[in-house]
């Protein structure tokens, strides 16, 4: 190996390691502190589960957890459905509207959360005459997640062989039956990936949920309220738990992809 390439490897590797340090040091520290009695200077360690007990006993957090799950499920169902249909349309059929549809599906990526939140708030209130509620928050989050779900579906389905569907049609299957019996069994991993990612995004969203939920609490809005009063023990416990669940979900995705159960758009 030449000196130049060695240097390139060395620099790239060092930068990647520092990026991991930058990204994971706060997460590791949050998890560590969540088990400590002294939150400000937890050295030497004195372990406790008190923060988790406090978090579990807090009625607001329990209510927030339930609302966040509901919100995540609702949004994930909506955007997995529209993203699946949209990605099949774009990949399977030629149409002069194709480019336009792709642009529409991707444009939520280019609008900041804050703007999605406030514009939906005013639109619902002023034009549709709807008060802020779980439904409008689900819709607001689903709009934002649709792009992510769509991209995951596109990446995963780009190598799907649509002739399988044609073959089923030749043998007389109706479109719905063809979808349920041929397409769905093959594309469910992509749909699961899109569903998981949109669920996690909506579950953890702050700004869109905040402006559309009225007085209904979710975990991120409660965490926001509590962060205003500084870092409390239950906040550390919550952050540790959510990080644990998200990293766990990614570990599962990694194993599924590594052992070729699904690819979520990744190629070797």
């Amino acid at each position: 190996m030449k000196a130049g390439e060695l240097l390139a490897r060395l620099i790239g590797g060092t930068l990647l390691l520092s990026l991991y340090l930058f990204l994971y040091a706060p997460i590791a520290y949050v998890i560590y502190v969540s088990f400590q009695k002294d939150l400000n200077w937890p050295f030497p360690p004195s372990w406790t589960l008190a923060h988790y007990a406090a978090l579990g006993a807090d009625q607001t957090y329990r209510e927030g957890l339930w609302n966040s799950i509901l919100l995540g499920l609702g949004s994930a169902v909506i955007c997995t459905a529209v993203a699946t249909m949209g990605s099949i349309a774009v990949l399977k059929y030629r149409s002069r509207w194709r480019a336009l549809m792709v642009v529409i599906f991707l444009c939520p990526l280019f609008v900041a959360d804050l703007l999605v939140g406030i514009s939906n708030l005013l639109f619902n209130r002023q034009v549709l005459n709807l008060p802020g509620n779980m439904g409008s928050a689900m819709i607001g989050n689903a709009v934002h997640c649709t792009s992510f779900a769509f991209l995951i579906m596109l990446a995963q389905l780009s190598r799907y062989d649509w002739r399988l569907d044609d073959a089923a049609m030749v043998f007389g299957a109706r479109p719905l039956r063809c979808f349920l019996e041929v397409t769905l069994p093959l594309i469910w991993p992509a749909m699961l990936g899109a569903f998981l990612v949109s669920f996690i995004l909506a579950f953890n969203n702050l700004e869109i949920s905040f402006y559309n939920l009225g007085a209904i609490p979710t975990l991120p809005t409660i965490a926001w309220g509590s962060l205003r009063f500084g870092l409390g023990g239950e906040l550390f416990a919550l952050a540790a738990l959510v990080n644990g669940v998200v990293l766990g979900a990614f570990a599962v995705m990694y194993l599924l992809m590594r052992y070729r159960v699904v690819s979520f758009g990744h190629r070797e």
């Binding site: 130049g4 930068l15 520290y29 099949i88 529409i104 280019f110 005013l122 926001w224 952050a239």
Partner: protein, 296 residues
């Protein structure tokens, strides 16, 4: 063949099927993203009175916005922060993504998922984490104080702290976008360039970068847009001297209830980010970057 079968059975044409499948999603986005954005454009020309929008058309909100020096300061500060963060993220992410794509080998997937995963915990809990490290009672400053050293003042409620926070939140987007682009890039093209006598840096700027420019632009946009619209990082990490445009925008929807002015701010925020996206998109030369090496 499918077409013939379809028409023989009196079914829909491919065009109709396309629309049947794509329209629900497109209408969904139009109804709950584009129409709301258009509605705040309309409201930005109205006025607010005791938490109600009054349809009396005027340019007052924009006049207030552009003649109040503090609002312009906030806008300029947000713009500068967003540009600075995007640039730093861009320069940092390229070697990282390049390393993952070229030398990652069989660990490539693990390396790239590990970059993306932290993003999904959500803004507020990630800020909690970064406050645990950088905040006034965070690891760094408490550690320094314990060893009798003064705290690092630029980490406590300054614009720099806010910028670090924003970079922390959105750098995974940049690395992932460039990495995905490089995944489809044929590194053998570089060998060809070298055989033809190009130095490494020249091969990079004339082959690698142009062919991955669209991925790079997508990364830039995905970092720039949320960085410009940031309100939470500035509030929790930035302190009084780092108040961002997004932060005053969100105030209009909180205590003050001046929705019309807030709508005008939203419109300005959207126009500024669209303009920057437009400038970036103009730098794309489709003939040079449309083809990204190996097919599928």
């Amino acid at each position: 063949m499918a077409t013939e079968i379809a028409s023989a059975r009196g079914q829909l044409s491919p065009e109709a099927r396309f629309l049947l499948l794509a329209l629900p999603g497109a209408l969904f986005v139009v109804t709950f993203l584009i129409l709301p954005m258009l509605s705040i454009l309309v409201f930005s020309f109205w006025r607010t009175e005791s938490y109600n929008l009054i349809p009396e058309w005027s340019l007052d909100n924009y006049v207030v916005l552009f003649t109040t020096p503090t609002y312009m300061t906030f806008l300029l500060r947000s713009l500068l922060t967003a540009v600075a963060v995007s640039m730093v993220a861009l320069i940092y992410s390229w070697p990282v993504a390049y390393f993952m794509a070229k030398y990652g080998g069989r660990y490539r997937l693990l390396l790239s998922l590990a970059v993306a995963a932290p993003f999904f915990t959500g803004v507020i809990l990630r800020i909690t984490g970064i406050q645990g490290i950088m905040g006034p009672v965070g690891l760094i400053n408490m550690g320094l104080m314990n060893f009798g050293l003064p705290p690092i003042s630029f980490l406590m409620y300054t614009p720099t702290a806010a910028a670090i926070g924003i970079a922390y939140l959105f750098i995974p987007f940049m690395v992932t976008a460039i990495y995905l682009s490089l995944l489809n890039f044929d590194f053998e093209l570089l060998e060809v360039a070298k055989i033809n006598g190009a130095k490494a840096w020249r091969a990079f700027f004339e082959v690698t970068l142009p062919l991955n420019w669209i991925g790079t632009i997508i990364g830039l946009v995905l970092v720039f847009v949320p960085a410009l619209g940031d309100s939470i990082t500035a509030r929790f990490l930035g302190g009084p001297n780092a108040a961002s445009f997004g932060q005053v925008l969100s105030l209009q929807f909180g205590e003050t209830g001046t929705w019309a002015l807030g709508s005008a701010m939203g419109v300005v925020l959207f126009l500024v980010s669209s303009f920057v996206i437009f400038l970036m998109w103009r730098s794309v030369n489709l003939r040079r970057s449309g083809f990204t090496g190996r097919e599928g």
